[in-house]
Amino acid sequence: MWNATETPSDILQHSKMASPEGLEFVLPGDVIEAEDDVDLGPGLRRDPRGCVVLQPGVHRFRAPRTHWVDTHCRRYVPVRGQCVIGTVTARAGDFFRVDIGAHEPAVLSYLSFEGATKKNRPNVQVGDLVLARLLVANKDMEPELVCVNSKGRAEGLGVLAAEGALDFRVPLHVCRKVLSPLCGLLGRLGSELRFEMAVGMNGRVWARSDSLRYTAAVAAAICACEHMDEQQIAAMCRDITAAAHQNR
């Protein structure tokens, strides 16, 4: 039962104080007053009520005028310009169908590879993993991928080798966390282990190292860092690299 003398505004005040330490945690329906010329990122939308929160998370701000909400999400919504990892599911004439975990399979033209021409087709089979960039991504059309930049260079995009590699799924915020400049995970792992990896913003990660043992260590470290802060990540990296180097 609840205290009948509290008014709803008192309750709201208490609930705002229950945020995680020092963070502005917001829920859908919260209204943030912002100037007219601010840039709104994911999770925010302008409404007659003002700047309305659509997704639960931490309200972030970057000077001079960018607001967004950091969410913890598993389902990927395609955004133009992001790099994603997809699985080729079908060949359909002049293009491939690639599953990137979005609402529809994406389309990848065979001419969108470095050095590809009509007579020189890329060697892509059904079941291959590709790292590609989203060229077209909106809610009304099927996503389109390319494996080249605007100058025709691959620059790391293309088919990812399957031999000796592990590809796994993590929540989307783990991808962002791992790629964040202030997260020390990749730096700590890289100083002890030799590996290569690709992180897709759709929550898929591909990693390869000298042997499957080291590859599994890298994959375990990335999966485990979801619920860890910086000190815990440092300790976890020490443990994992020590275990990986240990002779059986």
Binding site: M1, P8, S15, L23, A34, G57, A63, H67, D140, C183
Partner: protein
């Protein structure tokens, strides 16, 4: 697929919770809290070209499905259709599956709505507002909010399940059972509106726990109110102005 497991159980009264249900997010590793926007193709007759279609499946505690189960599904679906931002995801489906662990006939409906909203919060699907459902029972001159079976002994059998928008305090849905006078209905709706704010506090606690390890400045930018520029202010909840910047 979003799965929401609910329990209504007796326990010590906690002044901060309005009913004694426990909520767990992420119980199932494969699908709990993840809104499957239909990687499996939406069936053609259900595909909507301009918005997402919401499907609710309710599995009652009894083996054979009946009309009451469909009524629960209909209320939950109509509530979610209003609050989910379906226009952002056309030609997809949001599938919500509700499984009952322990049942209480009176509190079942409000628990279903709240559990569905919690699962949608866990999945971070875009929502316009958060609905909160509360069951009120008039007993004598008082109105009990989400009463346990032991507490509603003296009631005449009438009850009101009301769903409120916790932001604007508008009534979203209402279902009554049994006999109620007009005054009882009005007082039940009034108490339910006040209690909906407490349900929002419950949502906040449940979901904010996921962000306890969130770094302060992942991209070296301010995230606290006192670091925000002077032009940034927050509406509502700033009664004493202690969080506003000058």
């Amino acid at each position: 697929m979003i799965s929401a497991d609910m329990k209504s159980e007796e326990g010590d009264l906690d002044e901060d919770t309005i009913n004694n249900f426990t909520c767990e997010l992420g119980v199932l590793s494969q699908c709990d809290g993840s809104a499957t926007l239909c990687n499996v193709e939406v069936r053609q007759q259900r595909e909507l070209v301009d918005r997402s279609s919401i499907e609710v499946t309710f599995r009652g505690p009894h083996g054979v499905e009946g009309v009451e189960d469909r009524r629960v599904e209909q209320l939950v679906r109509s509530t979610l259709e209003q609050c989910v931002f379906a226009a952002l995801h056309p030609r997809t489906a949001v599938s919500v599956v509700l499984n009952v662990l322990e049942t209480d006939d009176l509190l079942l409906l409000s628990t279903c709505v709240n559990a569905a909203v919690l699962a949608l919060l866990d999945s971070s699907l875009s929502m316009k507002y958060l609905p909160a459902a509360v069951t009120c029972v008039p007993v004598g001159d008082r109105v009990l909010v989400n009463p346990l079976p032991s507490e509603r002994q003296g009631s005449s059998g009438g009850s009101v399940t009301a769903v409120y928008d916790t932001g604007s305090e508008r009534l979203v849905a209402c279902r009554t059972a049994g006999q109620l006078s007009a005054e009882q209905l009005t007082s039940c709706l009034r108490e339910a509106r006040r209690a909906a704010a407490l349900v929002r506090q419950l949502y906040r606690r449940a979901v904010a726990a996921k962000f306890s390890k969130e770094p302060r400045d992942p991209w070296a930018g301010p995230s606290r109110a006192e670091d925000m520029p002077p032009s940034w202010r927050r509406l509502g909840g700033q009664q004493t102005g202690e969080q506003s910047t000058s």
